[in-house]
């Protein structure tokens, strides 16, 4: 069940209506847990058992680690990483199409299970829960609270990855009168608009980046599509995160903001404080800092950056392209690190714009490894960006449409904020027009890009 389906609309409205009934106030957490299980099991009921194993297992290790952190915390983390590794990386070693993979039937069944949607996200929630709560030495939370934190349906499939120490204190009775309706509506409308109008329409154009279609593209169109994909992946993931935040607010939970205009970053380190913020924060807190961060000298810092970004790449998928994407981002962070102080001291507008352009260009080029997880295809696409096209029947691109579909991302990043001043009265009308436009001009239905992770 995706956020853009009518089934989800009915589901969310029903849960919302029941959630604030006075008679059910004592069961709000349980209601959200049941609703989240329904949401998750709607498409893949066979994977509900796995979700239950992940949550019960994590809860057990949490209780044990609260008694003896040193002994049980590593076991709990290893348990979750093993789950992630098994489901995410098994395809590197097996062919699921084979009639029988191993002689042991239960293992054969497990090996043939599809990649559970959202596993990368809920495993990170589990680890955050284990680390944060055992660090605080708090009393063990209720099982329902743990369930809710891990499987809360707005964030279950693609985040934002919420830290336990931020989410758990929010678990308390919620009241209808406390709902910030306008804020929730703005997040939800902006999210749907970016997904339906921007991302889904741009997806029609960037579908030509796939192999072998990209061979029909002219050289300049290959460049154009790289930038369009940059806008698309942002609009898609920002859209999802915005809807999740808006839905969270409707149920009384404030989820972390996941994006902060990433394409205006003037350095790669700044980019990672603006793009998929919840993942960057998670990696910094639970991987970079424990590895030693920047506390053990220059070379160790560089190594830590490369390890974190390489693993961050592999977190997205088991493939050479994802690993390379992460490592190249790591390399860019390493290369810019000694220059950052000097670059920051040159403070004039043109230079800042030039830095923004360089960062945007590099980040966009690296998205090619995301769009084309097959490494050979990605390299083929890149090579074609630097050689003249000879195809006698090139694909025609509509530059005017590309501009109109990309415009919302551009306007947002240009920092156009008319509604903070005298035009504040027009804000509801703009959001209303966006709602109409996303209905009228929605592109063909496609999954959220981050669902695959």
């Amino acid at each position: 069940m995706t956020f853009t389906s009518w089934q989800f609309g009915v589901f969310a409205a029903t849960v919302f209506a029941a959630y604030y009934l006075p008679a059910l106030r004592s069961f709000q957490v349980q209601l959200l847990v049941v609703a989240s299980l329904f949401f998750y099991g709607y498409g893949q009921p066979e994977l509900l058992a796995l979700l239950a194993v992940a949550v019960f297992g994590t809860y057990l290790f949490l209780v044990l680690a609260l008694r003896n952190r040193k002994a049980w915390l590593p076991v709990g983390i290893a348990f979750n990483l093993a789950l992630l590794a098994f489901f995410k990386y098994k395809l590197l070693f097996i062919d699921p199409a084979s009639p029988s993979l191993v002689d042991f039937a239960p293992l054969d069944f497990l090996l043939k299970l599809p990649l559970p949607i959202g596993i990368s996200f809920f495993v990170f929630h589990n680890i955050s829960l284990l680390v944060d709560l055992t660090r605080q030495k708090a009393a063990p939370p209720t099982l329902a609270g743990v369930f809710l934190y891990i499987i809360f349906f707005p964030q279950l499939v693609s985040g934002p990855i919420t830290r336990a120490e931020m989410f758990m204190p929010q678990i308390k009775p919620k009241y209808f009168a406390d709902i910030p309706f306008v804020e929730a509506a703005k997040w939800i409308l902006a999210g749907f608009f970016f997904k339906l109008y921007v991302a889904n329409n741009l997806n029609e154009m960037t579908s030509y980046m796939s192999f072998p279609l990209y061979e029909t593209l002219q050289t300049q169109d290959r460049w154009l599509l790289v930038f369009l994909y940059s806008y698309q992946i942002y609009a898609d993931f920002f859209g999802y995160s915005a809807i999740a935040i808006g839905l969270g607010l409707l149920f009384g939970y404030r989820l972390p903001i996941n994006f902060n205009l990433p394409y205006i970053s003037t350095s790669f380190s700044e980019f990672w404080t603006r793009w998929h913020i919840s993942l960057s924060t998670w990696l910094r807190t639970y991987l970079y800092v424990p590895l030693g961060g920047n506390r053990h000298g220059l070379w160790r810092t560089y190594l830590n950056l490369m390890i974190v970004m390489g693993l961050g790449g592999l977190w997205h998928g088991a493939g050479l392209s994802y690993l390379l994407w992460g490592l190249l981002h790591g390399l860019l962070l390493v290369l810019e690190r000694p220059l950052l102080a000097r670059l920051a001291s040159i403070d004039f507008a043109v230079f800042r714009k030039a830095r923004m352009t360089v960062v945007f260009l590099c980040v966009s080029m690296l998205w090619i490894f995301f769009k084309l997880p097959n490494f050979d295809h990605a390299v083929g696409y890149l090579a074609g960006m630097f050689t003249p096209s000879t195809n006698p029947n090139p694909t025609k691109m509509f530059y005017s449409l590309a501009l109109l579909y990309s415009l919302p991302v551009m306007i947002q990043h240009l920092g156009f904020r008319p509604f903070e001043g005298r035009l504040r009265w027009a804000e509801p009308y703009l959001y209303g027009s966006m709602a109409a436009l996303m209905y009228l001009e929605a592109g063909p239905e496609t999954s959220f890009i981050y669902f695959q992770f």
Binding site: P180, F181, V182, A185, L189, E204, M205, S207, P212, E215, T390, N391, P392, N393, M397, F398, S400, L401, L404, W425, E427, P428, Y429, L430, Y431, G432, S433, A435, A436, L437, Y439, L440, E441, P444
Partner: protein
């Protein structure tokens, strides 16, 4: 501003935009609405246009191979190319057959029969009304801009350019890598089952439309040599010729093959498409004289 007032204003703005676009559709129709950014868009455009405009004299139905034969390449007036990129010729033939009025001649491509007809498209375009409920302002604006920039051409407008193009030597584009890839694909697929179903359905549809006075001719567009000999092409040819053995059912496209080039071994390049379009017209003129 209270939340309720904000939400009411927001809802009212959405409703006003939707009503305005609904009224615009009633006033202007939806003819301008979808620039073809993808194959699917192109298909919907072609079908909508077929239903919207007067019934043509001759219609071509086929796949992306026939799609390359642009209407302005033909001197025949009232010729419409309803070939659907990525689709089956049977889809177009079904839709044409389901219309209340038929063209005088229907030309059916017999190259690609391995794809089943698109039932959703057939259903949608056989109902007649395909107008959208709402005007889509962004697409309409871009479509208007594109039409202004590149208005549809007639044969008369491009005749000189086409003659110049045909007068040039054939392209020397090195397509070996693409031909090899296409050959592998054509050798890997077995079209037998679907092609037999399609051939049977074409037979039924021909009987229906010919009872209503239209004439139907089949045609095969040339492939590059290695593709002609591939498993899929050979099997398709055998099935369709077994279903339609009569020579007068076929347009005999006679061209000097050494003049033809394919971007990928399957789809003709522009110059070759112009040459083949000319040969088809000659074949059609000759076939229509045979009763």
């Amino acid at each position: 501003m209270s939340a309720v007032r904000w939400l009411i204003k927001c809802g009212a703005a959405a409703a006003i935009v939707l009503i305005a676009c609904g009224l615009a559709t009633v006033r202007f129709g939806s003819g301008l609405q979808v620039p073809a950014t993808t194959t699917r868009d192109g298909t919907l455009n072609a079908l909508s246009r077929y239903l919207r405009e007067p019934v043509p004299n001759v219609v071509l139905v086929g796949s992306s191979i026939t799609f390359r034969l642009k209407e302005e390449y033909f001197t025949t007036r009232g010729l419409r190319n309803l070939a659907l990129g990525g689709g089956s010729p049977v889809t177009g033939l079904e839709i044409v057959a389901n219309q209340p009025r038929l063209p005088a001649a229907i030309l059916v491509e017999a190259n690609v029969l391995a794809r089943p007809p698109d039932a959703a498209l057939v259903e949608r375009y056989s109902r007649g009304a395909t107008e959208l409920l709402f005007f889509r302002p962004v697409r309409a604006a871009v479509a208007a801009y594109e039409q202004r920039l590149r208005p549809p051409l007639t044969h008369e407008q491009v005749a000189l350019d086409l003659r110049r193009l045909v007068g040039q030597p054939p392209s020397d584009f090195d397509n070996r890598i693409y031909v090899d890839r296409a050959q592998q694909q054509f050798n890997a697929e077995d079209p037998t089952y679907v092609a037999q179903l399609n051939a049977k359905r074409i037979e039924e549809l021909i009987r229906i439309v010919e009872q209503r006075g239209a004439r139907v001719f089949l045609f095969e567009l040339p492939y590059a040599e290695p593709i002609e000999g591939s498993r899929s092409a050979a099997a398709t040819r055998e099935i369709i010729h077994a279903a339609f053995p009569e020579p007068n059912r076929w347009l005999s496209i006679e061209v000097n093959r050494s003049e033809l080039r394919w971007a990928d071994g399957v789809h003709l390049d522009e110059r070759s498409a112009v040459i083949v379009a000319g040969a088809m017209e000659r074949a059609l003129a000759s076939a229509r004289t045979v009763k």
